[in-house]
């Protein structure tokens, strides 16, 4: 199991919304959004490779009653693994040190998640739990799924209900 951290930029388009004002707050009943995002993350373990994971996704997000949010998305990913103490051995048996030894993989990815949107414009505006699967192509001699479980926190001041 590797731990990691990811930073992402998102932009969204509101497809449809039905907003009902609440008691001193904006009480959102139903909002449908399309969200595009670019993420860059790092996955790390002290005794194995360090990987940079770059994903570009498009997501359908629905905000329902009690501000619960559900999401479903797909996109593309690029992962680059960096190896500690890397060496390369050529056909003649010569060993070369490769200080920046690495390997990169492209692949499609998809995810599913849920979370909650918080009322009022504020810095910490939502939290989501997400399970994502990335299918790394040409990994070894085949394709390998790479699963990540993510806790995502949204920081922005653009309110959904306006």
């Amino acid at each position: 199991m590797n731990v990691g951290v990811e930073y992402g930029l998102t932009e969204w388009i509101k497809l449809k919304s039905k907003v009902k004002p609440g008691r001193g707050a904006v009480n959102m009943v139903k909002i449908h959004q399309l969200v595009v995002a670019a993420n860059l993350g790092v996955l790390w373990h002290p005794k194995t490779s360090t990987s940079l994971l770059n994903t570009y996704t498009i997501e359908y997000r629905k905000t329902g009653r009690r501000r619960m949010q559900y999401q479903l998305g797909l996109g593309g990913a690029y992962m680059r693994s960096f190896f500690p103490n890397a060496y390369e051995v050529d056909e003649d048996g010569e060993v070369y040190s490769r200080p920046l030894g690495s390997a990169g993989y492209f692949g499609p990815n998809h995810f599913i998640g849920f979370g909650r949107y918080r009322t009022f414009p504020r810095t910490f505006q939502w939290w989501h739990l997400r399970i994502a699967g990335t299918y790394l192509l040409d990994y070894n001699a085949f394709l390998v799924p790479y699963l990540t479980a993510e806790i995502r926190l949204g920081f922005h001041k653009k309110p959904l209900g306006e």
Binding site: M1, T50, P84
Partner: protein, 343 residues
């Protein structure tokens, strides 16, 4: 604002991964790139001894670090260092190559690359021993029958190694029959041993199919379980891999299964018994008396065939396919004595 901390963090993580190791208590990872594969070698234990045992894991589909846990390794790593290698297409090995480059010959070249890298990293004075378990015995044997490879190794340890798959199937059936008869006479798990005996009697040992080979492997673990429950096998070790192991279990299981599926047709016909005479380096054969996967007769064959002057066969009386699990202290002691003698 965020960019700088992220770059700093990546730099720090990479730097942390490259820290200089304490030789007497090694715990570092080396990556070996060979013909498209990037393979991790987890080196642990007493590197100051300058004795390194390259562990060739079983499977195919296994991983190096599954051998790094347990009492035997606790004892052994105090005396020497172990290099737990994830073979091509298994464990956390990665890289880019074609299916055609996934075969026993290529993997033997990978093992040579690992040994050469160990020498480059730890110095030419490092004494390298090769230890293969189960499928690792196939690779270890294939590696050792090459004279130029023998020049790199101070010794060969084969622990229940599968150097002859067609023969191990035949010998496995013989062992099933004899142990089942013995256990029935003792009145142990009679219903299950009767089933096993009937099944073994139904196998034509002159014509064992690929599917039956898989069946023998499955029944072997079933039989070991019975012997363990009836107190015939020692229950020496019940250690589990730590949650934060470098091995991602899902990735390892998926890549390992695919690799095993691709290698199986080639492995099923691999027979190296007739080439073992080429081996002259000191050799130690460690076998479980109740190993139905690779019957002890294969250990006897290997002991008789190799041309080594220093050779030894040890049959563990209360062990199955993995004596390092059943009788860890005895297993470790045999390896320590062998390495001491030949370093």
């Amino acid at each position: 604002m965020i960019r700088n901390p992220l770059i700093l963090m990546i730099g720090a993580l990479l730097l942390f991964g490259c820290q200089k190791a304490d030789l007497a208590d090694l715990n570092e990872t080396i990556y070996v790139k060979n013909n498209g594969a990037d393979m991790p070698v987890y080196v642990r234990g007493n590197g100051a001894s300058k004795c390194f045992v390259v562990l060739v894991h079983g499977g195919p589909g296994g991983r190096g670090l599954e051998y790094a846990i347990g009492k035997s390794q606790e004892i052994l790593e105090k005396e020497m260092a172990f290099a737990y290698w994830d073979q091509r297409g298994q464990g956390m090995a990665q890289g880019h190559y074609s299916v055609n480059e996934l075969n026993v010959t290529q993997m033997t070249k990978d093992l040579r690359a690992v040994v050469l890298t160990m020498k480059a990293h730890y110095g030419d004075e490092a004494k390298i021993f090769i230890m293969g378990h189960s499928w690792g015995g196939t690779l270890g044997s294939k590696f050792m029958i090459n004279v130029s490879n023998q020049l790199l190794a101070s010794g060969w340890i084969e622990a229940d190694g599968a150097h002859d798959i067609p023969r191990l199937n035949v010998q496995g059936i013989k062992l099933f029959k004899s142990v089942a008869t013995e256990q029935l006479a003792l009145g142990n798990s009679t219903a299950k041993w009767t089933d096993i005996l009937n099944w073994a009697n139904g196998i034509d040992t002159l014509n064992i199919s690929y599917e039956q080979g898989g069946e023998i492997n499955e029944k072997a673990y079933e039989a070991e379980e019975l012997l363990l429950n009836d107190g015939i096998l020692a229950n020496g070790d019940d250690s589990y891999a730590p949650l934060l192991s470098p091995t991602n279990m899902l990735t390892s299981a998926i890549t390992g299964n695919i690799t095993a599926g691709l290698l199986d047709p080639e492995i099923e016909s691999t027979s190296l018994t007739d080439s073992l005479f080429k081996i002259t380096v000191p050799s130690l054969f460690l076998w479980g008396k109740y190993d139905f996967v690779v019957a002890p007769q294969l250990g006897v064959d290997a002991f008789n065939k190799v041309s080594s002057i220093d050779k030894e066969l040890v049959i563990f009386q209360e062990s199955g396919h993995s004596p390092m699990v059943n009788e860890p202290e005895l297993f470790a002691q045999e390896i320590i004595e062998f390495v001491e003698r030949n370093k």
